[in-house]
Each structure stands twice: as structure tokens, then as C-alpha cells.
């Protein structure tokens, strides 16, 4: 399986017009014949596109997992669908990081809950006392 879009310098969402002009420009007659019978026929292109999508996904997965030189990834497919490896993110490590972050936040909340609750109760009580005193003094002043 080859990536005909790449070989014709097209994007996978190219429309029929673009495909036609790319076919006219293509210098390799064998490739032109193959591309004509695959891309220029709607049902063929649909099947091809589905597989193309899956293979691009697999290529991306392999690049991220460092499997671009696997024993089962050879020939045309490997040539056309391999991407440069990027070890930037391991999803699992990221998940572990996020979970541990969440856990530490939760632990901190658990630890600080007591003092904060005390402060909150004290503030509310003080507020109520102040309001009551104010109302009382107002009532006295008026009376």
C-alpha cells in the first residue's frame, strides 16, 4: 500500500479537479495508471481513503511509540506512512503525572481542611456578632 496522495504531492482531502491536474502533471506512467484507477473512481477512492486514514493513524502511533523500525513495518507502507519519531509525550507518564498532581491537591485540601474550617466558623461568628451589636446599638440609639 502506497500513499498516492503523497506521491502525487496532494493532500488527502484534494478534490477531483486537483487530482485531475496532478494526474496530468504526473511524469511516471505506471503511477499515473494506478492513481487513475484508484483516485479517479469514487467507490475505489472511498475504500482507499478509509485504509489510508487507518494507516496514517498507525504511522502516527508507531512514531510516538518508537516502533518506526519494527519487523512488521516494512516496504511501501513503511516508506510512505512513517513519520519522524517524536518522543515528546508518553501518554501514560502524562496520565501518571496528572493523577499524582490531583492526588497531591486532594491531600493538601484534606490537610488544610481543619484550620480553614475553624477560621471560616470564627469569621462567620464574628460577622453575626458584629451585625447583631450594630443592630442593637441602632435600636438603642433610635429608642
Amino acid at each position: 500500500m502506497r500513499d498516492l496522495y503523497q506521491r502525487l504531492a496532494l493532500t488527502p482531502d484534494a478534490n477531483n479537479q486537483q487530482i485531475k491536474s496532478a494526474l496530468a502533471r504526473c511524469p511516471n506512467s505506471a503511477l499515473r495508471q494506478d492513481a487513475t484507477s484508484v483516485l479517479a473512481v469514487a467507490p475505489h477512492r472511498e475504500t482507499y481513503d478509509t485504509l489510508h486514514h487507518t494507516l496514517s493513524d498507525i504511522g502516527r502511533l508507531r512514531a510516538r511509540l518508537g516502533l518506526t523500525h519494527g519487523a512488521h513495518w516494512q516496504g511501501d507502507v513503511a516508506n510512505d506512512f512513517s513519520l519522524p519519531p517524536d518522543n515528546a509525550i508518553s501518554r501514560h507518564d502524562e496520565l501518571v503525572d496528572r493523577v499524582s498532581h490531583a492526588v497531591s491537591l486532594y491531600n493538601r485540601w484534606r490537610r488544610l481542611r481543619g484550620p480553614w474550617l475553624l477560621i471560616a466558623v470564627f469569621t462567620v461568628g464574628a460577622g453575626i456578632g458584629l451585625a447583631l451589636g450594630f443592630a442593637l446599638s441602632l435600636g438603642l440609639g433610635l429608642g
Binding site: M1, Q33, D34, H44, T54, D57, G70, H72, R91, H92
Partner: protein, 324 residues
């Protein structure tokens, strides 16, 4: 600390009782999604059947819906978990399950060809082992996938289109021929008229006209010949391509038979070159895993399957003990 910061699959993984099982479930679901001509209910039932021994402890529905959305991040995460936590035997059993799920009725879709190979690379299963495993499970050798980016693939898979195209071409050629004939007739009629009109001028001119007509006819016939020649060549080329294809298929269908020791080793999940102690240890482990008594509480069917597996393992072990 909202849960929205975790994707559905991450939540599933965090809640699961066994992360490997959940991750394997997603990968198997991914394989199943690429099975063709299978309904959604069948897919779910199949997955439940294959993974009856898993200890994940959650519903299959969410996993299937994630697999359907083909969320690349989720699949990557699952692949990482599986790679990190699978032992050698476990990875072989995952491969085993993936092949079963991919090929119930014998044929395997193109996408699954590549997915199975990706899983094999992920789980560090060598091509030879994958080949023997596939052969063991389906009774057919694992062929290289066909290539829909080539004309030849469509000539075998969509002959209707080519027949139609050939028909159209023939029609066009016929129409062209007819119109040419008509033009020629008109020309001749005109020439006749001219001739009548200018009857007096003539000997020379008539001769010239004749010569010209003769030449035109010669040209036309040679053009027709050329066209026929071209058509013949085209047909010959197609014929040759078809023959080559069938020859290649024949060659492919008869690879060297894997030798019995290798097969027996593959049954025990070993690669060629394993020592006698390895074989014994692998046999004990496999026998424990697949002993029919383990499935006593499950259905009759499960017990029967397990005893078939156990028998195969035992045969392989007996054979290896004799030869080693």
C-alpha cells in the same frame, strides 16, 4: 479537581480493577471496529466472549464507543499500558485474542492486517511467531496484505468497473468508426457531384483525385490496423498481468511448511532455541492456565474449549520431550 480534565478512557483506566485488561480491551475493540460486515451487537458479544476471563470490572459499552471514535490518544495510552505491563506469555495471549477477533470467518480485513502487525511489533512478537500463531488459529498462512493503491488490485476486486470501461471504450470506437464512414460517404458524394459538374476538365484531375482517394483509404486502413494492433497488445498485457498475479498467488500459498518442532514451541509460547527446562516451565504454566478444571464453574462450552487447548498443549509437550 473536576473529572473533566481526564478523557473518558483515562477515567475508565483509573477506575478499572486491572489496567492491562482495560487497555487490551480497547485494542481488541479497535481490531473489531475494523472487521467488515459485522453488526454492532455481534461485535460487542464477540468481545465479551473473548475477554470473559478479564478482571477489569466495568461495562464494555464505553470501551466500544471509544474504539469507534478511534481516539488516537486513547489507543496510544492503551498501547503504552499494554507494552509496559505485559509479560511474554500475556503478550502472546493478547496476540492470540487479537487474531481470533480479527478472523472469525477466515478472512481478515486490510486494515486489520496492519493493525495486527502493529500489535505484534508492540508486543515484541517476531514475524515467524506471528505467522505460526496465525496458521495455528485460522488454518491459513498469514499472507502479505493486498495493495489497493494498485491497478491490479482493482482489476481482481472490481471487474465490473473494468468491464464497463472496456464496453465504453468499444462503444466510443464504434461510434468513431461510424462517423468516419459517414464523413467518407459525404466526401465521396461531393466528389461525385464535382465530377459531374466538371466533366470536361478532367483526365488529369480525375487521376489525381483517384490517387488522393486511394491514399486516404490506405491511410485509413493502416490506422485501423494500428488500432487493432493496439487493442491486441492491451489484451495481451492484461492477460499477462493476470497470469503473473495468479502465479504469484500460487507461490505465496505454498511457503515452506514450518517444521513441527517450531510449531510445538509456538504452541507453548516459545521461540526456537528454547531449552528443555524452558519447555518444561512453559508447559507447567500453560497447563495451569488452560486446565479444563479451571473452567469447571463456567459453561460446558468453555470446558470443552479448554480441554481442546489443553490437549494441544500436552501433545506439543509430549512431542518436544521425545525429540529434545
Amino acid at each position: 479537581m473536576s473529572t473533566a480534565r481526564f478523557s473518558p478512557f483515562e477515567l475508565l483506566l483509573l477506575k478499572s480493577r486491572s489496567q492491562v485488561d482495560t487497555a487490551t480491551l480497547l485494542l481488541l475493540g479497535w481490531v473489531l471496529v475494523h472487521r467488515q460486515h459485522v453488526s454492532e451487537g455481534q461485535r460487542r458479544r464477540r468481545l465479551a466472549q473473548v475477554t470473559s476471563q478479564f478482571r477489569h470490572g466495568h461495562e464494555l459499552g464505553p470501551v466500544m464507543s471509544i474504539a469507534h471514535s478511534q481516539d488516537l490518544h486513547a489507543i496510544q495510552l492503551a498501547a503504552e499500558v499494554v507494552r509496559k505491563e505485559c509479560s511474554k506469555e500475556r503478550s502472546l495471549s493478547v496476540m492470540h485474542q487479537a487474531i481470533t477477533v480479527a478472523t472469525d470467518d477466515g478472512d481478515i480485513s486490510l486494515a486489520n492486517h496492519y493493525i495486527l502487525r502493529f500489535l505484534a511489533d508492540l508486543l515484541n512478537v517476531a514475524p515467524a511467531t506471528l505467522g505460526t500463531l496465525f496458521q495455528e488459529l485460522t488454518g491459513q498462512p498469514l499472507r502479505p496484505p493486498e495493495d489497493p493503491s494498485r491497478d491490479a488490485y482493482w482489476q481482481t476486486h472490481d471487474p465490473a468497473y473494468y468491464a464497463q470501461k472496456a464496453q465504453e471504450e468499444a462503444d466510443a470506437a464504434q461510434r468513431e468508426k461510424a462517423s468516419q464512414e459517414q464523413a467518407e460517404q459525404q466526401q465521396r458524394a461531393k466528389a461525385d457531384k464535382q465530377q459531374e459538374k466538371k466533366q470536361k476538365q478532367q483526365e488529369k484531375k480525375q487521376q489525381k483525385e483517384d490517387a488522393r482517394r486511394a491514399k486516404a483509404r490506405a491511410e485509413q486502413s493502416s490506422a485501423e490496423q494500428a488500432r487493432a494492433e493496439q487493442a491486441r497488445q492491451e489484451r495481451a498485457r492484461q492477460e499477462q498481468a493476470r497470469q503473473e498475479e495468479s502465479r504469484r498467488r500460487q507461490q505465496r500459498s505454498s511457503p515452506p511448511p514450518p517444521d513441527r518442532t517450531t510449531r510445538a514451541l509456538a504452541v507453548l509460547g516459545l521461540t526456537p532455541g528454547a531449552s528443555k527446562t524452558d519447555v518444561r516451565r512453559a508447559y507447567r504454566r500453560m497447563a495451569q492456565l488452560h486446565h479444563p478444571d479451571r473452567f469447571y464453574s463456567d459453561s460446558e462450552h468453555q470446558v470443552a474449549l479448554a480441554s481442546a487447548r489443553f490437549q494441544r498443549i500436552k501433545n506439543a509437550y509430549d512431542y518436544l520431550m521425545q525429540t529434545y
